[in-house]
């Protein structure tokens, strides 16, 4: 299902939470919405789930307004809350009935789904005794129950332990083929695993929208990382004065040499080193930040 977000603005009393936000997510695409706390992620997600009312703009699903497409949306709130007096099975049965799923189908589907999210044994236990992680799993189960074409998830894995995280990520990978997924998170390694595309939001504005590759390429530093033996350290003082070397920084166990034109200058530098009888233990052209660093660079 294609999701179009058109120029959404949402103001609260003292703060504009989302400001003129637009994006398009194509069918079966998985997009990670990342941003620092208070950036407007949850507000945006709640607007898409039709919980909050946008002051301006609209959300379209396959060209239709989101409020008329609720049977196609699976929504997982950041802190899923359920009726504490219901069991896990009853909760899913209740939510499923609201989505118009037949009773016989529910009887058949719910045990399978509970098994999938790792709550097979807890099916008939009251939700009141559930831990945060178990509630999260139940929340994921209810979002999957009616086989939605669009999944919107607010921090789906943040509250889970590593095992639960793995299970849920695998589950998402499984449904990814036929579902459009939008998830917000601040744990980038998780998003990295299932999403191809990232949208970075800060202070309600979209500040970046790119695929993982583009993002990394975009933020590649024009620098060479090299490691040399201690005996050769004096070579560094020599190259410092070369015209194409802009700056040398100590970085980890080695050094970052910043240059103007990465490829050409790398060759010249390597040649210079070899001529000076320097032994390189490591020579890396173009330093790739990981997503975490790119994220920090973008939002701080």
């Amino acid at each position: 299902m294609r999701l179009e977000i058109k120029n959404i603005t949402k103001k609260f009393k003292h703060k504009t939470a989302v400001n003129g936000f637009s994006m398009v997510i194509d069918a079966n695409e998985c997009v990670g919405l990342i941003g620092p706390n208070g950036a407007g992620k949850s507000t945006l997600i709640q607007i898409i789930a039709d919980i909050l009312y946008a002051d301006e703009g609209e959300v379209l699903l396959d060209g239709q307004k989101n409020s008329s497409m609720k049977h196609q949306i699976g929504y997982l709130p950041q802190y899923p809350n359920f009726f504490s007096w219901m069991t896990a099975f009853e909760t899913l049965s209740f939510m499923g009935t609201l989505s118009g799923i037949a009773k016989t189908e529910l009887q058949k589907e719910i045990p399978l789904l509970l098994e999938k999210v790792g709550l097979g044994k807890e099916a008939h236990i009251h939700v009141r005794t559930f831990s945060g992680g178990m509630k999260q799993r139940l929340g994921i189960a209810q979002a999957l129950l009616h086989k939605p074409a669009l999944m919107i998830m607010d921090e789906p894995v943040s509250a889970l332990d590593p095992i639960g995280r793995r299970e849920v990520l695998n589950l998402l990978k499984e449904i990814k083929k036929e579902t459009t997924i939008l998830l917000s998170t601040h744990i980038l390694s998780d998003a990295e695993e299932i999403c191809e595309r990232f949208v970075v939001i800060k202070n309600g504005h979209k500040i970046e929208d790119a695929t993982k590759l583009e993002l990394i390429k975009h933020h590649q530093e024009s620098a060479i990382f090299l490691m040399i033996r201690k005996e050769d350290l004096k070579w560094l003082t020599m190259i410092e004065h070369l015209p194409y070397v802009k700056k040398i920084e100590s970085y980890g166990d080695g050094f970052k040499v910043f240059v103007d034109h990465l490829e050409g200058d790398a060759n010249r530098l390597l040649q210079h080193g070899l001529d000076s009888k320097v032994l390189f233990t490591k020579f890396e052209v173009g330093i790739q930040d990981n997503l975490e660093e790119i994220f920090l660079e973008l939002v701080v």
């Binding site: 709640q46 789930a49 039709d50 919980i51 909050l52 009312y53 609720k70 049977h71 949306i73 929504y75 709130p77 802190y79 899923p80 809350n81 359920f82 009726f83 007096w85 219901m86 209740f94 939510m95 009935t97 609201l98 989505s99 118009g100």
Partner: protein, 259 residues
């Protein structure tokens, strides 16, 4: 429709789990008992507990009719303590789910706001009617036993009019529960407004037409005199319109997501 049924079932289950289905009827049965028994035994109690001096109990005091006793069950038990208890018992029907996010969560499903609201109001109304009916039947029985029998048709009609007023009571509390976030405030404002309505009923003919509490007055009139009083038809219609208006207000309030 499936959503309405599922939500109604959920309301009933919730009432069962909270034991509301047990204690609310018991409270109203006790309230229904109080009036005939107190009226009957009050002279005796006063005589034995109040000491001899200073109190004169007229032995020739006319024994009240059963209809009068039943009428005062409605207007001095159900319309006072009864309203307070109902307001407290229903104050969080919407506020509770608004506060813990369940309402928003339920509404992310293909559920219309009207089936959400109607399921709540209808189930709580039915519950209130059952409780009042139980209290009323007990009161009827004791009035007949200790005083005189009230004609069945009169008692039935009085109950019907009382239920119209009851519908207003439940809808009003639900509306307050939609608007406000503090349960204590919801209970307080509901009780104050509803009691003001009840106390101003019968003061002014024109005001009575739009006052939903006049339905309660009609019920008492039927029991005491056998007559409904004037304007009762218009009064019922006006009350039902008010209820409709309140439901529409709640609906647009939730639709605009002002909660």
């Amino acid at each position: 429709m499936h959503a309405f049924i599922a939500l109604s079932k959920k309301e009933i289950n919730q009432m069962t789990k909270e034991y509301k289905i047990v204690w609310l009827p018991i409270v109203f049965i006790l309230l229904g008992l109080t009036q005939p028994i107190m009226t009957y035994y009050l002279p005796v109690i006063l005589q034995s507990a109040g000491g001899v001096e200073g109190i004169m109990i007229d032995p020739n005091m006319a024994k009240p009719e059963g209809g009068e006793v039943l009428a005062s069950t409605l207007n001095s038990q159900f319309d006072q303590l009864g309203i307070i208890i109902l307001a407290v018992a229903t104050m969080s029907i919407i506020q509770g789910e608004k506060a813990n996010g369940m309402m928003a969560f339920i509404l992310t499903r293909p559920v219309s706001i009207s089936s959400y609201l109607n399921s709540k109001i209808i189930i709580h109304y039915i519950m209130a009617v059952i409780c009042i009916a139980l209290g009323y039947v007990v009161s009827y029985g004791y009035s007949a036993y200790l005083f005189t029998t009230v004609p069945m048709t009169q008692a039935m009609w009085a109950f019907v009019f009382y239920c119209v007023w009851l519908l207003f009571v439940i809808t009003f509390v639900a509306m307050m529960s939609t608007f406000f976030t503090s349960p204590a405030f919801i209970a307080l404002i509901s009780i104050v407004v509803l009691l003001i309505c009840r106390f101003t009923a019968g003061l002014h003919t024109i005001l009575d037409v739009i006052n939903p509490a006049s339905n309660s007055l009609s019920a008492t009139n039927i029991l005491m005199t056998g007559e409904v009083g004037t304007w009762y038809g218009i009064n019922v219609v006006v009350t039902l319109l008010l209820v409709l208006l309140m439901i529409m207000t709640m609906q647009s309030f939730i639709a605009k997501k002002k909660f």
